[in-house]
Amino acid sequence: MGRDKSARQSLGSLHMRIKQARRAPIHEARVLMVGAGGIGCELLKNLVLTGFGEIHIVDLDTIDLSNLNRQFLFRNEHIKKSKALVAKESAGKFNPNVKIEAYHDNIKDPQFNVAWFATFGIVFNALDNLDARRHVNKMCLAANVPLVESGTTGFNGQVQVIRKTQGKTECYDCVTKDPPKSFPVCTIRSTPSQPIHCIVWGKSYLFAEIFGTSEDDAPELNHNEDSENAQEIEKLHQESQALKRIRDSMGSKDFPRLVFNKVFKEDIERLRSMEDMWKTRRPPQALDFEQLSKEALGVADTIAQKDQNVWTAAENFAVFVDSLRRLSNRMEETRANVDTGNAPAILTFDKDDADTLDFVAASANLRSHIFGIETRSKFDIKQMAGNIIPAIATTNAMTASLCVLQAFKVMREEFDKAKMVFLTRSTERVISSEPLRVPNPTCPVCSVTQSTLLVDTSRATLKDLVDDLLRLQLGYGDEFSINSETGILFDPEEDQNLDKTFNELGLKADSFITIIDDADEDTKVNVVFSIAEKTLDKDTRPIHLPGKLKIGTKPKASAPEVNGNGNEHNHPVTNGVTNGKRKRGAEDNLEDDLVKKRGKVAAAPAVADDIILVDDATDGAIVIDDD
């Protein structure tokens, strides 16, 4: 009787069935876990205690105090240490027979290339952001490794199996995810009307201009309407420049007053002087530094802790001045420690960094006072500024266990039994599931044909690719384009790169290029090549396909626009969770109710779930023959 008594007794059939199929048993499985946070800690424990043989963990994050309410592999003494390394250390003790490798790195680093992904039997996504999820999805498709994708938000959770061949499931990008919300520059800088506008102003403009780089790269600001308001934009630009100049007096006693008077008085007065703007709006009212200073003298020093209360103007003022001082001191210290000649010292907003949060909360509320907008508590502002997603141990425990259960199906190659599993707050079900869906035929990621390309990058030119490989070997016509990760390399109008070599174009090993066919008839699906560098004999062609490549054609039907709001493939995205069951519009529900109540027989409204996607698997198939 050993430590695996329970597992052997219960999992016996799994071991056996796997053996019969001559597949690796669990203790020989080599798996990758991307992310060692909430789901990751639970998942690692479950994988280790289920007896997975070799587990690799990648996470670039470090441990924060706010992780400790759920990420149980970490303790107070681990704060600021690498999640991946500490997780390995803590979990390794549970089962000495398991081999764990940890990387304190970004999964997007070039060392984690397609060939590396291909060494794993299963990949688990335990991530908290869209970008990394999409990257891993893409790599798993390219490496043809099954992916178990998961996410949680509060009490909701979701697990999805993604598999390119055998099963042919929907991939992570088959469903359009809502992009993060952004606001026009003028709304943020000149005409705010909601608390969120002032919060974005505090975080992406004021904080960024004083302590960071600049507002220009803030994702919350969109510049689509800039051209319509060219004059105002120019003025706003001058304002930013003036604010930057004030930055130089950081550290002086007068600094808070200078900043305050600039943004809460002078800029407001300038805005107010533009009378046209305020014909139909309540004009903003500048704040007075001296007066607020006096009122703020009576504010208790515990004010910043009262994060559930909505502060008065004076309280906000007190927090503003104090947080500005704290941040200035930090900035001075950073500067003193930075070697001259290095990049300038900057601070970045972090929702869990009290100094930055206090500053943004107080600035946002002061601005709300000016514009007559409702002010918010620091607790609420933290959520809005930091896009905080509530997270708890219970949901993570359930979600991680469901990942492992789905992994069992993957290991048995029972893709017909694998499911998309949801945790919902509904108490009628607790867990609900639906069969995996077929891929979206217009998915920009998985509907493409993928292959590697062996390239002698010092010798091969773009012309070799265009003329010899694409036109001659693969039968492309005149209308197509070649895109790299940075932009267009070639299309019928863009031919000046043709004589450049791959090296000169920066196309190195493991970079991707996409070929987009624009022919009117029998349009080929997009082809994504990942480049493998190889020195080839001078007498041979400098670009080779590793095998025969068959490229399917795009479906004829007027397909919904890629990235459009194609109804049938649109999930709202939070932390990767899609609100449980796919929802219909609220209105449809109501009409449905009405119809039911009146006992009328009517055609049910079109429901996303009812749409049947035609699986054009035969056409889209990729066949690479080894020869």
């Binding site: 219960s10 409702e374 509530p390 425990a397």
Partner: protein, 563 residues
């Protein structure tokens, strides 16, 4: 230069640590969690109990106590992640308790290694606890004692099985378990009262829509949609004998009228505020009638017959019942959905709703105070509780908790009023009721078998003899099934009857094959579900599972049934 205010203090470490969960259950929920003291009666391989506790220690449950007289063996190491080689031979309760405490220094942990039989018979042994979690296998007379305690003291009792790929839990909540803060979906909480406007709201709409035809484009595009809806409703009433749209056809017509009123001669080809009005049109024509389950609450005896001792929930519910009787609606919750509007208008509209909500709260509060006086109630109900109740009035919930089955050797299991519906559902091809019956049979086996003959630890089926145990448990399960069908006064025809027995047989076989062993992954999942339900019970927020949940790990499937 004026003096600057003094420096302020930073947030406490505790607030930072619990930030992500405070956004779910708030400061009051957290306080309830910190005031709780849970007893875990651990048994069997003991994994699911510890996994459950882990998920409660992390978010900061105040106190826990583990009762477990088992000694750590090598088999524990493979499934219980807390235990390592060095603890072999020690008390499992002691080591798991200490290791759990390491997860969160704010939590107090205790352990009891005295055997459950003698410990439980001591007077007041259960007194400190606000919630009890019992893990199978447990002797029926002990489980019955816990159930009686839960009944008498109104504390929640959870009972959990976790065997192989399968698990189950039942919860025994107090017979009247009301919840104010059910956390409804934000989509269902907007209650804008278009059909029951009050003078100030009508006045607002009139102001914002007067001369709307001659308005500048920018102004027209910023009329709050609530004003647009009310304006068109008033117009409609003029042409329909003062009646609002009644039939589906009329409602659709009303919606069309609004969408036609939008201006389209602008670069966008439409107006966002009108889009919002159209989207809300049908919904706003629904009478703001409380749901039947809420109306039911006003009629239950606890609500009708409020006395000196009544919990505050019933006093406030009674007062709101009076309000409903008088006006035919619940108090206005007061929140206004986001909409396209000038900030000044939006703020004005918010105030219209807020002051009406405030007025309604004051009226309910007056009734509450009256009830307090007439019943001679000793403690005063806080105004903020009344306010909170009014805000959530449309979503309050009453759960009627009840005891779960305690299987006694040789006694027939009683299903009572549930017999009929459960017997009916038994034939559904996907139901997990057969699994529940298999667990009941498992319990009856436990009730009649000891590990040694000295009534030591209970023995689980399959621990030593697979085949004979499978036969025994299958026999018990079939008898339970037949008794259930008999009690329901129904009959299951062939081939359904054989199919039901087959499924029960399969579940029994799987349970016995596991030999009482736990799979870590299933224990972890079950621990997740159970701890989540415990958090609901402690915080008295969210709607709990009522009252039994089954999990099939082969199919990743759950089913909730009321037993």
């Amino acid at each position: 230069m004026a003096d600057l205010p003094p420096p302020v203090q930073g947030p406490t470490a505790k607030e930072k640590k619990y930030d992500r969960q405070l956004r779910l259950w708030g400061a009051t929920g957290q306080m309830a969690l910190e005031d709780s003291h849970m007893l875990l009666i651990n048994s069997g391989p003991g994994v699911v109990g510890i996994e459950t506790l882990k998920n409660l220690v992390l978010p900061g449950m105040g106190n826990f106590t583990i009762q477990d007289s088992a000694i750590v063996s090598e088999a524990d190491l493979g499934v219980n992640f807390f235990l390592e080689e060095e603890y072999i031979g020690g008390f499992r309760a002691e080591h798991t308790c200490n290791l759990l405490k390491e997860l969160n220094p704010d939590v107090q942990g205790n352990f009891i290694t005295e055997p459950i039989d003698s410990w439980l018979t001591q007077p007041d042994s259960l007194k400190p606890f606000t919630l009890i979690l019992a893990i199978a296998p447990i002797r029926p007379e002990l489980l019955a004692r816990l159930s009686a305690h839960a009944n008498a003291t109104l504390i929640p009792l959870f009972y959990v099985h976790c065997v192989g790929f399968y698990s189950h839990f039942s919860v025994h909540l107090p017979s009247a378990y009301p919840i104010v803060d059910t956390h409804p979906d934000s989509e269902t909480t907007a209650d804008i009262r278009m059909l029951k406007p009050w003078p100030e709201l009508l006045q607002f709409a009139k102001e914002k829509t007067s001369n709307m035809d001659t308005m500048e484009a920018d102004d027209h595009g910023h009329i709050p949609y609530i004003a647009i809806l009310l304006h068109h409703l008033e117009e409609w009433k003029k042409g329909h004998d003062g009646k609002v749209p009644q039939t589906y056809q009329e409602k659709t017509e009303f919606k069309t009228t609004i969408s036609k009123a939008a201006r389209t001669n602008n670069p966008e080809g439409g107006e966002e505020n009108y889009d919002e009005a159209v989207a809300a049109a049908l919904k706003s024509l629904k009478e703001p009638e409380p749901s039947s389950s809420v109306k039911e609450i006003f009629k239950v005896p606890e609500c009708v017959l409020v006395n000196k001792e009544s919990p505050s929930f019933w006093v406030i519910a009674h007062a709101i019942g009076l309000f409903y009787t008088k006006y035919g609606v619940l108090p206005v919750p007061g929140a206004v959905p986001d909409m396209k509007a000038r900030s000044a208008d939006y703020i004005q509209l918010q105030n219209v709703y807020k002051s009406k909500a405030r007025k309604d709260v004051m009226e309910v509060l007056e009734s509450v105070r009256f009830l307090e006086r007439t019943t001679g109630r000793e403690t005063v109900i806080e105004e903020k509780d009344v306010e909170q109740f009014c805000k959530n009035a449309a979503h309050i919930k009453l759960v009627r908790g009840r005891p779960f089955h305690v299987v006694q050797a040789g006694e027939t299991i009683k299903w009572g009023e549930r017999a009929k519906s459960i017997a009916q559902n038994l034939t559904f091809p996907d139901t997990l009721i057969p699994l529940y019956i298999a667990f009941l049979a498992f319990d009856e086996f436990v009730a009649t078998h000891d590990k040694d003959r000295l009534s030591g630890a209970p023995k689980m089926p399959g621990e030593t003899r697979q085949e004979t145990d499978t036969e025994k448990v299958t026999g018990i399960a079939f008898k339970i099934t037949d008794d259930l069908i008999k009690e329901a006064g129904t009959f299951i025809e062939e081939p359904d009857y054989t199919a039901v027995k087959e499924r029960i047989g399969e579940f029994v076989q799987e349970l016995v094959r596991a030999g009482g062993a736990e799979l870590h992954n299933i224990a972890s999942l079950t621990g997740g579900i159970v701890s989540q339900e415990i958090i609901k019970a402690i915080t008295e927020q969210y709607i709990p599972v009522d009252n039994t949940c089954l999990f099939d790990g082969v199919k990743s499937k759950t089913e909730v049934i009321r037993i």
